[in-house]
């Protein structure tokens, strides 16, 4: 069998999908928050692989830089700042609640599968052989020609979020009835 005959992208997809699913389950099921965070990083990396398979190299890079690089570091920072020992044995959710959560999740999944099966006909209109629609040039053109205002608004949003995060994290520390020994 020659190398070209191998469905290489299929193999990559199946392996990545399996890793992503296991990592997602670890995020939800494991008790240690650090393990949750590391599993989420693995999951995000798997999504970056999916983006590469879907011909979106720019988004794959952004996924790794922004999510795995910035957001998850923030998560790990907060986990490390908090008292982990107290959190290793948190009050567990009630058995009833957990059963109902799984039940609701199963119902939700079947609803989505149903919707996908109903809308299968829309996939027939695909196979636009438009190579390079996910390149940086095309995404940048789309973003800066048609969505420039949204782009600027996103930067304002990030600024507001940054200021807000600082204010929220500080204000509570400086209240007199805070249980901090010293600010």
């Amino acid at each position: 069998m020659s190398l070209e005959a191998l469905p290489l992208e299929m193999i990559v997809f199946v392996i990545t999908a399996a890793v992503a699913a296991v990592a997602a389950l670890l995020v939800v099921l494991h008790r240690n928050p650090v393990v949750n965070a590391v599993a989420l990083i693995v999951n995000l990396a798997c999504l970056a692989v999916f983006f590469l398979l879907l011909r979106a190299p720019f988004l794959a890079a952004v996924q790794v830089i922004v999510y795995a690089g910035a957001i998850m570091v923030l998560f790990l920072f907060v986990i490390m700042l908090l008292d982990l020992k107290a959190e290793l044995h948190p009050p567990r959710a009630g058995a009833f609640q957990r059963v109902m959560a799984v039940f609701a999740g199963a119902a939700f999944l079947s609803l989505m599968v149903l919707a996908m099966r109903r809308s299968r006909s829309t996939f027939a209109m695909k196979e636009v052989a438009d190579a390079g629609h996910g390149t940086v040039e095309r995404v940048a053109e789309e973003m800066f020609r048609n969505h420039l205002v949204s782009f600027e608004l996103a930067s304002v949003l990030l600024l507001v979020a940054m200021v807000g995060a600082l204010v929220i994290a500080r204000a509570f520390a400086e209240t007199p009835d805070s249980q901090e020994p010293s600010a």
């Binding site: 939800v28 989420l40 988004l59 948190p90 599968v113 204000a171």
Partner: protein
Amino acid sequence: MRPPTEWYLAIAALLFTIGVVGVLARRNAIVIFMSIELMLNAVNLTLVAYADSFGASDAQVFVFFVMAVAAAEAAVGLAIILAIFRRRRSTSVDDVNLLKW
């Protein structure tokens, strides 16, 4: 031979459902946050799969904005969790019931 769009939609639906179950079943606020990130990423995967299917670049711009909003949300949310932890010495959502009826 590329994987069909349906496969990507299926794995995205699975990841989203796992995220939903995580939000519903877990009590730790940080883990609930991570489950929300899981759901946001599942939606991003759906958008990129459709973008590839239809050969459109708009969806990728939209995914970019979703990532920006997710970053903002994570920053503010983690600041709130930090502030609550300073007061209550807990990140369990059961201890934060001031606005609950």
